[in-house]
Amino acid sequence: MNELVHGALYGTLIATAILSTIAMGIWFERKFAGRMQQRLGPTIVGPAGLLQPFADIIKLLQKEDIVPRDADRGLFDLAPILAVVCSLGVAAVIPFSPSIIASDLDVGVLWVLGIGGLMVIPTFAAGWGSNNKFALLGAMRAIAQSVSYGVPLVLAVLVPVVLSGSLSISGIVAWQAQHHWFAVWPIVPGLPAFVIFFLAMLAESNRIPFDIPEAESELVAGITTEYTGAKFTLFYMAEYVHTLVGSALGAALFFGGWDGPFAPGLHWMVLKTLTLFVLIYWVRWSLLRFRADQLMRLCWTWLTPIGVALLLVSAAWVTFGGTN
């Protein structure tokens, strides 16, 4: 019972923090993208356009809810909620400081991969339920992509698991706090594993350069083609939550999470997470979209074998000395 209250309390706290971060993150992204393209970004609503995300949310919630006549109503309505659950649920096991963690699960890594992997279900429910050709094509591409990139993701996540010998994320962070960050040392499985993790995470959250599932020049809007108003907002939110939680996960697994000198753990975790989050925006507004075949080739002929090799290197590191 105590644990239920703890989970619900910290869940509310963490979910609120994540959602307000992404609201401001959307403002930041538009400002950032604007500056990169030599324009100003939002300026009208509030000082420096700071209230723009709230205006957007209120506008979206007021929109009419249109469900296509031929759609599968049940799947169509369920998909956006499931998308939010699958992206937000991952945050349950991420330690934001030594004490701020909703659920210190001893198989935290499996929870992250499992709940994150379930994301294909709302994707397919949305694509199939819409009964729209663009949506179905988008869903099929999204599933092929996230299923493929799930493999290098798992292999990259296995590197910190092997090096620390723990499946719990707080355990992995504690190990790094005691010894060293995995992205820094041992640098050979650590840093390349982080790069693979980062690429796979971009692909899993359908970010440029891997945003083929909703390539707007080909597929209108992919799975969200038929969605309006609040349900569209939920998909949009889920995508940003996925990115932010992925950044937090990268910070925890490879950059020592809350570990750092001079400041409380929470500050370090937030700093690292936001740095990765900004890096994703930077990539997004700098690169072009891959083609579907390039995307698949990168995953299966490069990232997967490299991931297996890195896994074996980290195993050798653990077995034959190096770190203890």
């Binding site: 644990e3 619900a8 979910a15 809810d65 199939w128 493929s148 907002t233 939920l234």
Partner: protein
């Protein structure tokens, strides 16, 4: 540690409430349309009348991707318990993993040579 599952499921419950709550808020805030048109509820197909349903067959290459995913995901499932005991088991566990990975990558090499991994 078992009780951590309760917290995790409470977290999922909170996430569900976030999603459902937003939909609930929208159903209160929403502006209702004054009149309706049958065209509004048509499936979107760039303004044309939709041609048939979209519940149809799709390309077989998706099936191949699913097969590879199953293969490599099963392999990953084997790696997880191994990763946690590697420190105690030492060299024998390391050799076992290398053998396992070698067999797996042999299959991967075959797939590459057969061009099964090409998206075409």
């Amino acid at each position: 540690m078992q009780s951590a599952w309760l917290s995790a499921f409470a977290f999922l419950l909170v996430s569900t409430l976030v999603g459902a709550g937003l939909l609930g808020a929208a159903s209160v805030l929403r502006v209702r349309a004054k009149y309706d048109s049958p065209l509004k509820h048509n499936t979107y197909e760039c303004g044309e009348e939709p041609a048939g349903m979209s519940w149809m067959q799709f390309h077989a290459r998706y099936y191949v991707v699913a097969l590879f995913f199953v293969l490599f995901d099963v392999e990953a499932a084997f790696f997880f318990p191994w990763a946690t005991v590697l420190r105690e088991e030492g060299t024998s566990a390391f050799i076992a993993a290398v053998t396992f990975a070698a067999v797996l990558m042999l299959g991967w090499l075959y797939a590459v040579r057969k061009e099964a991994l090409e998206w075409q």
